[in-house]
């Protein structure tokens, strides 16, 4: 029996669903190995008898909360795809402004028309079994998780920061260009894609497990910077960890 899979989207840009479709070389192979029973963006078929639920997006309205709880009840395995679902992502920026002001700024005196809640990553509402990180999620990372799930093994999880991958690519350090980069404390697995394109790491994969903050502080100190100088940058994608602390 092929495993039945379903895809659901919450508050997000749907870029991670697009990343799945962008696995052009593997897509037909994956489709042959599973039965897609629910994927609103791609098919009119909608069933609730799925084994694996892939979730994109953060939880930001009362109806999101209700929907994700139902999905959790139905699914044997629940996997979050990308930063919005896994860590709250950029949507978290909303939480740093008073909610009523945010609503008035965008919808004026009609703000009351549309429900909204402080943004949360999925694991703050229901249990999450596996997370694929990144904004957007990395294709290789996603394929590794899918392959692992289909063959009944644990997905490989990277436990070191982006700096490690960046050094292996022999990139020049962004700090040497007078920039502030979040590579020292951000979970790797992206192949240091941004620094390899001469851009800073802005932390879209979230904090690495047990980050070496001392070492990161040393890097900052050497450049005459403090944690405060990078904190605002962290907020782009680390919003939830900041609130939690």
């Amino acid at each position: 029996m092929k495993p039945k899979v379903a895809f659901f989207d919450f508050t997000s840009c749907e870029g991670c669903q697009l990343q799945q479709l962008n696995c052009e070389d593997e897509l037909l192979g994956i489709l042959a190995a599973v039965e897609v029973v629910n994927f609103r963006e791609a098919t009119s078929v909608r069933r609730d008898d799925y084994d694996i639920a892939f979730i994109e997006g953060s939880i930001s309205t009362p109806s999101c909360v209700e929907r994700i709880r139902k999905i959790r009840e139905n699914a044997k395995v629940l996997v979050t795809l990308g930063a919005c679902a896994s860590t709250g992502g950029l949507n978290m920026l909303k939480n740093f402004q008073p909610l009523d002001k945010v609503r008035t700024y965008v919808y004026g005196d009609k703000a009351g028309y549309f429900d909204t809640l402080p943004v949360r990553p999925v694991d703050q509402v229901v249990k999450v079994d596996y997370k694929v990180h990144g904004c957007p999620m990395d294709k290789q990372d996603y394929l590794e998780t899918v392959k692992a799930l289909l063959s009944g093994r644990e997905p490989r999880q990277v436990k070191y920061p982006v700096c490690v991958e960046c050094k292996m690519k022999e990139n020049a350090c962004r700090y040497d260009y007078g920039e502030t980069c979040l590579g020292p404390v951000t979970r790797a697995g992206c192949g240091a894609r941004c620094p390899s394109n001469n851009y800073i790491c802005f932390g879209c994969r979230g904090l690495v497990d047990s980050p070496k903050t001392d070492a990161a502080n040393d890097v900052l100190k050497e450049r005459g910077l403090s944690a405060q100088d990078v904190l605002k940058k962290y907020r782009l994608f680390y919003g939830y960890s900041e609130v939690a602390e």
Binding site: E14, A42, T43, K101, Y107, T116, R193
Partner: protein, 437 residues
């Protein structure tokens, strides 16, 4: 003959569109009482959280409004920031950006036509069954999609949320060899584009024969090139207007049934997207665009909204030929690193480009330190929503009069919504309202 005189249609979360929308129709005693596309996407609040962020981050943040339109959001954002700070970009940057536009249009159009629209025309719920029943067609779609993503990868470092595009230029310039390889692959893909034209031409007869003239708004003017990145705002009713006047050309308003705002200019609604672009700029088709238009039976102006999909295919041909020209220019001049140095300053700027679903506007006001004070983004899908409602209001009574069943009407309405290629997560973000402290 329809047996029902009184019925409701409620399509909850229309499938094969980007984002969450519901179709709501109430018919009582053969009379249409209510007909609308309700937008139930969770509000995003991008403009609110842009405030206080740096000029360097504006494109990175607005890119996340929408994955599929991310290159377009970035380009529009960069143009707005550059306008606000008086930054001029080089010819090389301009050509590379246009190449990025080409990649992202081709990606989006191929995805929409093959994956989201064609299942309706061959009576399938999705593209998945087609993988076994029409494998060559699906493989061709994937090949074209991969090519368009690779264009964006080479130029932007990544197709979804590109990395290299910054205010003033690029962090990294593609290698000439990589561009040459892309060129060869685009040339190889031309037969695939022709096959796409033939496929859609064969299916175009299945598109509903429905017309409703409306106002068509897109980029226009420019230097004779089919305008996707540069130009003025062009209305089929009112002609050309500079992009600074975009607020007059949109008039956003909040409506109860949609977390995305509605717009109108000279009529109760207007249309943006491939059909609007082709209607306003058919005179600028290149040879490939002209050939595709002829094969698909398109002549401007066309008032059938379902033909938006046909126009997307014409644009695929148009873009492929233009992209080859841009690569040739880049290779002839030789690619060079161009260090970008920008000193942020206070100011207000507007950026306007075409993205696959229509004309997109960003406007930012920056303070002396280059921090965002005010932001406004007006998204194509938001601009189309009022027009979709108007189309539905004409289509449903016509179908009731013709004795069509509720199922036929539902199907035609879902196809209509899909024809617009709505990008709902994009459209839900909004503003136009002054912030009151």
């Amino acid at each position: 003959m329809t047996t029902e005189k009184t019925f409701d249609i409620n399509v909850h979360h229309v499938t094969r569109v980007e984002g969450h929308g519901n179709i709501v129709v109430n018919v009582k005693n053969g009379k249409l009482e209510k007909c609308e596309l309700a937008i139930v996407e969770a509000p995003r609040f991008f403009e609110a959280f842009l405030r206080g962020r740096s000029w360097k981050e504006a494109a990175l943040i607005t890119s996340r409004i929408c994955g599929i339109c991310s290159p377009g959001h970035q380009l529009t954002s960069l143009k707005a920031t550059e306008d606000a700070m008086g930054i001029k970009v080089s010819e090389q940057t301009l050509l590379l950006r246009k190449l990025m536009v080409a990649g992202s249009f081709l990606q989006s159009h191929v995805l929409h036509v093959y994956f989201l629209v064609s299942p309706d025309l061959v009576g399938q719920p999705s593209v998945i069954p087609l993988a076994s029943s029409m494998p060559d067609v699906v493989k061709r779609a994937l090949k074209l999609k991969k090519l368009s993503n690779d264009i964006c990868d080479v130029v932007g470092g990544r197709a979804v949320h590109p990395i290299t595009m910054i205010p003033g230029g690029f962090t990294k310039i593609p290698a000439a060899d990589d561009l040459k390889k892309l060129r060869d692959r685009i040339v190889e893909a031309i037969p695939d584009i022709i096959a796409t034209v033939e496929l859609v031409a064969a299916l175009a007869g299945k598109l509903p024969n429905f017309t409703r003239e409306t106002e068509y708004i897109s980029l226009g003017g420019g230097n004779g090139e089919f305008p996707l990145y540069d130009g003025q705002i062009c209305s089929s009713d009112a002609g050309l207007t500079p992009d600074k006047n975009y607020r007059k050309m949109t008039n956003e308003r909040v409506v109860r049934h949609s977390s995305s705002k509605h717009t109108a200019v000279n009529r109760s609604s207007y249309m943006v997207g491939a059909l609007a672009r082709c209607n306003n700029n058919a005179g600028k088709f290149n040879a490939t665009g002209k050939k595709a238009a002829a094969a698909l039976g398109y002549t401007a102006p066309c008032f059938n909204p379902y033909f938006n999909n046909v126009c997307q295919v014409i644009e695929c041909g148009q873009i492929v030929e233009d992209a080859l020209g841009w690569i040739d220019k880049l290779l002839a001049t030789g690619l060079k690193e161009e260090p970008v140095s920008v000193k942020p300053r206070a100011g207000t700027g507007v950026g306007c480009t075409e993205v696959p679903r229509g004309i997109l506007y960003h406007e930012y006001t920056y303070d002396d330190n280059g921090m965002v004070v005010d932001a406004n983004c007006i998204i194509p899908t938001g601009q189309n929503l009022a027009n979709i409602d108007e189309d539905m209001k004409k289509l449903v009574p016509e179908m009731i009069d013709a004795g069509k069943s509720k199922d036929d009407i539902t199907f035609a309405l879902e196809m209509l919504v899909r024809a617009y290629d709505p990008c709902i997560s994009c459209s839900v973000h909004l503003l136009d309202v002054q912030f009151v402290e």
